[in-house]
Amino acid sequence: MEETSIIISGFGGQGTLFAGQVLAYASMDNGLEVTWIPSYGPEMRGGTAHCTVIVSAEPIGSPLVRRPDVVVALNLPSVDKYEPLIKAGGVMVANSTLVNREITREGINSLLIPANTIAEELGMVRLSNMIMMGAMLALKPILPLEAVKKALGEHIPERHKKTLPLNYEAMDRGYQFAVDHQ
């Protein structure tokens, strides 16, 4: 596969870093090269948090990019920051519950998905990251949805294991929403 760069960005506490790790585990488990690098500024809960994941069949040089192929934006500041930076032909998935505007950038494949609303329907607002991940995989099939689910099952922290079925459902809902709204 071509080298693909993904930025997952949102508020601290929305699970952006963990979502990136799940993608990184899945990539490694499927024999791909991968790097995961977080923003690690002096932030606190409610500040911004993002990570860059690069997936490739070849050894990866820079773990950072200016112009990502894919952006998963869980809040408005993330859309504002990355919308102009995405590569032409790239993908942006944005959380419309917290992004009260359209994505106007032309030449990219974009999707607004009410991730918090869907997460609340599932009974746990913290699922928004996995809903977004499911939607992203529908638009940019870096890996099969099942491969990412498997990685989540194997790497979710022990204390959250009981929420695994809900997390799977969240990924499915996100994936399906993207399929229905493309």
């Binding site: 790790q21 990184a24 585990y25 490694m28 090269e33 991968v34 790097t35 995961w36 690098i37 977080p38 690690y40 500024g41 002096p42 040089g61 820079s62 773990p63 950072l64 990019v65 200016r66 112009r67």
Partner: protein, 374 residues
């Protein structure tokens, strides 16, 4: 063993454990803190020593004392913490005991920030502490490389009774990558013949860095210098990328070398004959290889995350035989591949003689980039 997805700082610490580190002394500082945390969890359960000291000064002196026993010992810190350790590092060098120091570099000078930097090049490569001594400095560029070379760092420290610095930056400490850890090494029960572990039944060993008679100190300095000459002869390590027919030579280490490798790949896709030399030992520097390449290439571009420190070493070796140019980001800014690619393209079209100090031409270019970034 299978690859695991490992966070840099955790992987470096586990690599040290598997290389047989028996004691870690440190004081937490971002972006190296996870290194110390990992050691705090792992070492006591293995029956080895972990101490969070009251300061970096205390930590390095604990390393000094423990190193005198001939056991494998280390510390890890980040730039300001390493500055505090420099006195102890000089004492360790002067006493000729082996120790490994990991510096996860961050922006400076002063308190600076916690972002990734290579601004400690002079401090780490040129000594940093007082007096005549020569540290070995390794600069890995990926989690796997760091895992591999931390094991080597301990071997080199033992072999030459020397300080070995492993320098990475905040990017590498914080990032996760698949890496394969080595098997756990057996810890040697035999003490080196110079070690102090109790002298029952034999003459005591004396380890010291004090030589009141200047001639004795001079003899020691000469011993260290001759040992360094051996190291220069035997221990140079570097990686090459696309150099066979290269006309533009890019030189970078650690993260900047890695970013440069992406830019070189893009340059090749655009028909520019660029190649990369990435020193892994910054000390000893791959001088011989650079001299050979100087006869081959038309122009050199040095890429760093500082104000051009390795640049000075490159200039000293190249001696004006080919024009050398520079691109650096400072203060905790990591250059991105497109910036370095733009530089490679610019350099490939430049037929000018090159400045006496490449920084003079770089400063206005950087000012423009900073103005555009903000």
């Amino acid at each position: 063993m299978a690859k695991e997805l490992l966070k840099g700082n955790h992987a470096f610490a586990e690599a040290a454990i598997r290389a047989g580190v028996e004691a870690f002394y440190g004081y937490p500082i971002t972006p190296s803190t996870e290194f110390l945390e990992y050691m705090a969890r792992r070492l006591p359960s293995l029956g080895r020593a972990f101490v969070q000291a009251e300061s970096e000064v205390a930590a390095i002196n604990m390393v000094y004392g423990a190193a005198c026993t001939g056991k494998r010992v280390m510390t890890a810190s980040s730039s300001p913490g390493i500055s505090l350790m420099m006195e102890g590092i000089s004492y360790i060098a002067g006493t000729e005991v082996p120790a490994v120091v990991v510096n996860v570099m961050r922006g400076g000078p002063g308190l600076g920030n916690i972002a990734p930097s290579q601004g400690d090049y002079y401090q780490m490569i040129k000594g940093g502490g007082h007096g005549d001594y020569f540290p070995i400095v390794l600069a890995p560029a990926s989690v796997q490389e760091a895992v591999d070379y931390i094991g080597l760092a301990f071997d080199l420290a033992d072999k030459y009774r020397a300080i070995v610095h492993v320098i990475v930056d905040g990017n590498m400490g914080q990032m996760m990558e698949p890496a394969e850890l080595p098997p756990m090494r057996e810890i040697s029960e035999t003490a080196p013949d110079w070690a102090v572990r109790g002298a029952k039944g034999r003459e005591p060993n004396i380890l010291t860095s004090i030589y009141i008679d200047p001639v004795d100190e001079e003899v020691t300095n000469l011993r260290l210098l001759k040992r360094w000459k051996e190291i220069e002869k035997n221990e140079v390590i570097y990686k090459e990328y696309e150099l066979d027919d290269a006309e533009i030579l890019v030189i970078g280490f650690g993260t900047s070398g890695r970013v440069a490798s992406s830019a070189v790949r893009e340059a090749r896709e655009n028909g520019i004959k660029a190649g990369l030399l990435r020193p892994i030992t910054l000390a000893p520097f791959p001088t011989q290889r650079l001299l050979e390449l100087t006869d081959q290439v038309k122009r050199i571009l040095v890429v760093e995350m500082n104000s051009g420190m390795m640049l000075d070493d490159v200039m000293k070796i190249v001696k004006g035989k080919v024009p050398v140019e520079f691109y650096g980001r400072m203060g905790g800014v990591t250059p991105l591949p497109d910036e370095v690619f733009d530089e490679i393209r610019r350099v490939s079209q430049n037929t000018g003689p090159g400045a006496e100090d490449p920084r003079d031409e770089w400063i206005p270019r950087l000012e423009k980039i900073i103005a555009g970034d903000k």
